[in-house]
């Protein structure tokens, strides 16, 4: 009896929403979830909007890079955060096969740079200007790196050209690569607790700048020529004598999404969100312990006009 009721209810619902979306499939659109809050929030907002538009949505837990295998075969349909800075290679490789498409920017801008806690300003007064690092490399030294300073870089897979940067700008620093994001911020947490010297790779949007008081080092601004042409920039003989590029965070989808759910594809394309909004939400979730679903629901309630406009009829 209960089963019949359920089926009846399902049929009624399908009729009511299905009429407006005759062209679109009722199969669930599968969105990928990773293990950092920003991505979870971003994806769940997108999912909520699609649900409001009448689609069925399913969330699948997936590894950031391994997910491309699923996007290519159509096991997965939409990935909401492919960072220019860390995921570009995998994204290019995937789009080259023709089975994955880049659906455009999310509106989030990734900033990655050397970063230090504010208390370091007392010990190295010239900061945030990068030239100050030249004079106080010894402040950042540890027994293993002395007399050079120690800079904790991201995992090698993130790239970043920090060894080259150190060389080109004549900084007496040794680059130590953390293996993962978690290890990187564990170093920061440890140093911050002891108010010990540290300079490391930090990126935004992330909860760290909200939790810890500090700033990015100001390197000469990035230009493509600075990376490609040695003669450009502070050091006439070497390339990479500038800061890191800032890049958009992309949305990537299975190529078949456009045909199977054309309406949804338009909505996904239109979706945009800003760094400030995201940072605030990530801070709420990670620092104040607000459940992610609540954070998402709050955003949905506060921005009804915005997302309604993205759902085209």
């Amino acid at each position: 009896m209960r089963k019949i009721n359920a089926l009846g209810a399902a049929a009624a619902l399908a009729l009511s929403t299905g009429a407006a979306w005759a062209a679109d499939s009722t199969d669930p659109i599968k969105l990928t979830l990773h293990d950092w809050s920003g991505q979870l929030i971003n994806t769940k907002i997108m999912g909520s909007i699609l649900e409001e538009a009448g689609y069925n949505v399913e969330y699948v837990q997936a590894d950031y890079i391994a997910q491309f295998a699923g996007l290519k075969t159509g096991d997965l349909h939409l990935a909401m955060e492919i960072w220019e800075t860390t995921g570009r290679e995998a994204l290019d490789e995937a789009t080259a096969t023709g089975n994955v498409v880049n659906v455009g920017e999310t509106g989030l801008m990734a900033i990655e740079e050397w970063w230090y806690p504010s208390y370091m300003k007392e010990q190295c007064p010239g900061l945030p200007d990068w030239k100050a690092l030249k004079d106080c490399a010894d402040v950042f030294a540890t027994p293993e790196t002395a007399p050079n300073g120690r800079y904790v870089g991201g995992p090698v897979t993130w790239g970043g050209f920090d060894e080259e940067r150190v060389e080109a700008l004549g900084l007496d620093f040794e680059v130590v690569h953390a293996g993962t994001d978690a290890a990187l911020f564990a170093e920061l947490e440890s140093a911050y607790q002891r108010k010990a010297p540290i300079v490391l790779w930090v990126y935004v949007p992330h909860w760290a700048p909200a939790k810890y008081d500090g700033e990015f080092v100001e390197f000469p601004p990035y230009t493509p020529e600075c990376y490609s042409d040695p003669s450009v920039g502070v050091n006439p003989d070497l390339a990479y004598d500038c800061g890191k590029p800032r890049g958009p965070i992309w949305k990537a989808a299975w190529a078949g999404l456009k045909d199977k759910w054309p309406g949804a594809y338009q909505t996904i394309e239109a979706y945009k969100i800003s760094n400030e909004e995201m940072s605030a939400m990530v801070g709420e979730a990670d620092l104040q312990g607000v459940p992610i679903d609540t954070v998402v629901a709050n955003w949905m309630a506060a921005n009804k006009d915005r997302w309604s406009a993205w759902i085209k009829h």
């Binding site: 009448g54 890079i65 440890s190």
Partner: protein, 665 residues
């Protein structure tokens, strides 16, 4: 005899010394001779295995077909078969039965209530053994509810409930097959070695292509990793069944099938359960990695907590995995014991009388389903009543960090300067042709020309794949960790064997270390010791300690009482007894323990790559993040080769030791 022996020893020492000296000065020597290729394997000689493997994989996944049925169709069908029971268990335990999808989804039947599940495991515990076991498993599951880990734990339990029967059953069948066909056994052994030693990250991407994205791929990866011990133990157990029993079975006129299932398997059931236990433990070891490719559950909680540096939450989820492992393990052991007993007493009473536990649990399940609609607390454990110790653990780490960092730093610097750095320098300085030659010699000495050939070919393959330097860093990290683990583990094992009370404490400690996901303590270790080799070594030692302790304890306990008595009678002090009788006789066991320690250390490498080591583990990890199948598999195979060389050499050494002490091969 004596003369030739001492000359051999002399040559051996000379070679060891030459190797160390070459390690120190090899680099300068090569420079002086203008032969840099001695130290750095020339990139022109590298054979591009990775491209060929990538292409082969691409072909397999995209084009391979037999008679119109493509390879991926077959793997997808297998995935579908695994998914059906999994989905059922998952719905029952965690998600509830749902009709429709997305917005139209309607829960037909919610997941089993926490009360019903706890009642079920308590009933199972009582059925399998007694009230003590029932109380233990009940307490374990109650912990999961009270500490707010329930829903994640049920997702993990669902995957364990599917992976373990497939792994154990499949392992049993493969083992029986290999037992019947000795040629099959020889073919199977290297495959098992590879399954156990290639890090799972190396074949994650192809698996995702074959089995689709989601929990099924995670299950397949788990099964690949967890099955080999079951196969090995099955073969061993069947072989060691008393031949008289087999003859008796034959005389009684059994068919081949009857002989296997009525005689051999039941008489080997005790050893077989050790295999099942191993499958369970390895399955739970895989929880973290499985969660990276869509398994969710407790593994995901650990990862996500550490991503936001919530050490306490990560620790609690990690302990939940340990607790789950304890409950499942104890239950399965008791269940096997009960199955092995002969129940002679006739069943009394009616149907209801005989099935009172089942009836009770089903009644409770239905009752909570109905009443749960009105009283949600009966259905789901109320969130307000959960406990957490999360802040406590974070505070402990903070306290240690703020107050004792200088001490940790001093210890670290001491170890680095006096132990790690010298080993690293030496290993990286040894010219590769010399190293290969030494391995061949060692192989020939320990196990004859077959072993020599194996050592030569495998180490040669590592060199021509262009991974020599990274392989040496791997050997250095593992070698240093194994030395430390042995120095700590063997004395602990001896203590555990000689002192009952210490044995209990050490046992619990070791069990926890082995089932607690290494990720949980990796991040606090980074906080206290910073990113670097020392941190990696600490993590590896913690993980690989267990077998060193276990085997040492086992070996010491098994020394025959006659020999001990003989020692006592001839006037040995307890100390002499240990040094002259117990330790030498336990040496083969201790060697096997070290062998297992090496294997665990190697399997930990991929995890330590996450704190920034520069070895083969990192190579595998980079390949994974770049979705480069070939690169990952080549690096994975290199790790497997190192493991196989070490395993064969240590085993041959242990065999030699056994012969020397007249214990039989």
């Amino acid at each position: 005899m004596t003369a030739s022996f001492s000359r051999r020893t002399y040559i051996a020492w000379a070679l060891v010394l030459a190797t160390i000296l070459l390690g120190q000065f090899g680099r300068d020597l090569a420079d002086a001779l203008g032969m840099r290729w001695l130290i750095k394997f020339p990139s022109a000689w590298v054979i591009p295995f990775k491209t060929s493997i990538s292409l082969a994989m691409k072909w397999l996944v995209e084009e391979a077909a037999i008679g119109g049925v493509s390879f991926t169709d077959v793997t997808r069908a297998v995935a579908w078969l695994i998914e059906q029971p999994y989905q059922f268990v998952l719905s029952l335990l965690a998600e509830g039965f749902v009709a429709g999808a997305g917005k139209e989804a309607q829960t037909v039947l919610p997941a089993a209530s926490w009360i019903a599940v706890i009642a079920a495991v308590v009933a199972l515990g009582h059925y399998c053994r007694d009230w003590a076991l029932a109380a233990l498993v009940g307490a374990c599951f109650a912990y999961l509810a009270v500490f707010g880990q329930w829903s994640s734990a049920m997702v993990t339990l669902a995957s364990v409930l599917i992976a373990v029967p497939i792994g154990a059953g499949g392992g049993l069948l493969f083992g029986i097959w290999a037992y019947r066909h000795p040629r099959g056994e020889r073919m199977l052994m290297p495959v098992l070695d590879l399954m156990q030693t290639i890090p799972i990250f190396a074949y994650l991407v192809p698996i995702l292509f074959m089995f689709g994205f989601g929990p099924v791929s995670a299950l397949v990866a788990t099964i690949i990793y967890a099955t080999p011990p079951m196969v090995r133990i099955t073969i061993l157990a069947l072989k060691s069944v008393d031949p008289e029993l087999v003859d008796f079975g034959r005389m009684a006129g059994t068919t081949r099938r009857q002989l296997m299932w009525r005689v051999l398997v039941p008489s080997a059931s005790h050893s077989l359960m050790v295999g099942v236990n191993q499958v369970i433990m390895l399955t739970l070891n895989m929880v973290i990695i499985a969660s990276m490719i869509g398994a969710g559950g407790l593994g995901f909680d650990v990862l996500a907590a550490l991503r936001r540096l919530d050490i306490g939450a990560g620790f609690e989820a990690g302990i939940a995995i340990v607790v789950l492992a304890i409950a499942v393990d104890r239950l399965s052991q008791a269940f096997a014991e009960r199955m092995g007993q002969v129940h002679s007493h006739a069943k009394r009473g009616g149907w209801l009388e005989r099935h009172k536990r089942t009836v009770l649990v089903v009644a409770l399940l239905v009752a909570t389903w109905i009443l749960g609609r009105f009283l949600p607390a009966l259905q789901e454990y109320p969130e307000g009543a959960t406990l957490t110790t999360g802040a406590f653990w974070s505070d402990v780490v903070k306290y240690l960090n703020v107050n004792y960092f200088d001490v940790f730093e001093a210890v670290k610097v001491f170890f680095l300067n006096n132990f790690l750095v010298p080993i690293k320098k030496t290993l990286l300085g040894i010219p590769w042709p010399w190293a290969i030659a030494m391995l061949v010699l060692l192989g020939a000495r320990a196990g004859g020309w077959r072993l020599a050939l194996l050592c030569g070919v495998l180490s040669g393959l590592i060199a021509v794949s262009g991974l020599w330097a990274k392989a040496m860093v791997t050997v250095y990290l593992c070698g240093a960790s194994v030395i430390l683990a042995t120095l700590i583990g063997v004395p602990l094992g001896v203590l555990a064997a000689l002192n009952w009370r210490a044995g209990t404490v050490i046992g619990v400690f070791i069990d926890t270390l082995q089932t607690l996901p290494s990720f949980v303590y990796l991040i606090p270790v980074v906080m206290l010791f910073r990113v670097g080799d020392f941190t990696a070594v600490v993590a590896i030692v913690l993980y690989a300690l267990a077998p060193a302790v276990r085997y040492a304890a086992h070996g010491i306990r098994n020394v025959s009482a006659d020999l001990i008595e003989a020692g006592t009678v001839s006037g040995c002090t307890p100390r002499q007894l240990l040094r002259l009788v117990r330790l030498p006789l336990a040496l083969p066991e201790i060697m096997l323990g070290i062998n297992q320690t090496i294997m665990l250390a190697l399997s930990m490498l991929v995890i330590t790559a996450l704190v920034g080591t520069r070895d083969l583990g990192q190579e595998v990890y980079i390949a994974l993040t770049k979705a480069d199948t070939g690169r990952g598999l080549v690096a994975g195979l290199a790790i497997a080769f190192i493991a196989i060389i070490a395993d064969r050499l240590v085993n041959a050494g242990a065999r030699g030791a056994r012969l020397r002490y007249g214990l039989g091969a």
